[in-house]
Subunit: 106 residues, 2 copies
Amino acid sequence: MNNKISTKKLAEVHELFKLLSNPTRIQMLVLLEDHPMNVGQISDELKIEQSAASHQLAMLKKHQLVSNVRDGKSIYYQLDDPHIMDIVNEGLAHSDHVVRGVKHGN
Amino acid sequence: MNNKISTKKLAEVHELFKLLSNPTRIQMLVLLEDHPMNVGQISDELKIEQSAASHQLAMLKKHQLVSNVRDGKSIYYQLDDPHIMDIVNEGLAHSDHVVRGVKHGN
DNA sequence: AATACATATGATATTATTTTCATATGATAT
DNA sequence: ATATCATATGAAAATAATATCATATGTATT
């Protein structure tokens, strides 16, 4: 009997999945899985405005999915929670199945 | 080098995490992890309107996270993808840590 | 076949998220 | 100290998600 989730835990998991439910933020996390990148590199790579990138990165940072460090003029972002990538990668694996049309037992 | 996600896969993972980024839907999945339930039972348990429950269940069904089967007047919903619950449970485990204030290495 | 019960559906209203734009801040170089 | 480059921030505008309400559909009961 696994049901009945505490309100706090529910709010927290809500926050987490909200963060993951945005294509830009997912792409950011996947990019950063390779190596830290600064804001300019990220917005270039994802072809989004500097400001939009900055807003999204701020959200990820606020909820401690990434951290940042300044190097001269630019600010480098990096992953700050390896566990999250397990979840992201499971999500991607699932999506891969769906896209390929692989069905599970009914 | 794990970056560069196909547009389709990105759209799909977006759909998936959107579905999971709603407290009501998470609770539904957790409830159904135990056993199938009909719409009335679900809306009672979660204290939401019949119509709201129905709308949310329709979304979960559309993306094949649940399936349903009629039994007389009522319609029973059940989980239709065990993998998803791995993701949900990882999310919940993470949230549990966050709520308890456990920090990961920085 | 009329009524009641369970669920679904469509339209609208409400609320939340995301983008955009303008501008601010902080660091470096001249 | 001024100019320039990189990033952040606030507010408004644009877009998306959710709840609500009214009603429709499908099944069972009389």
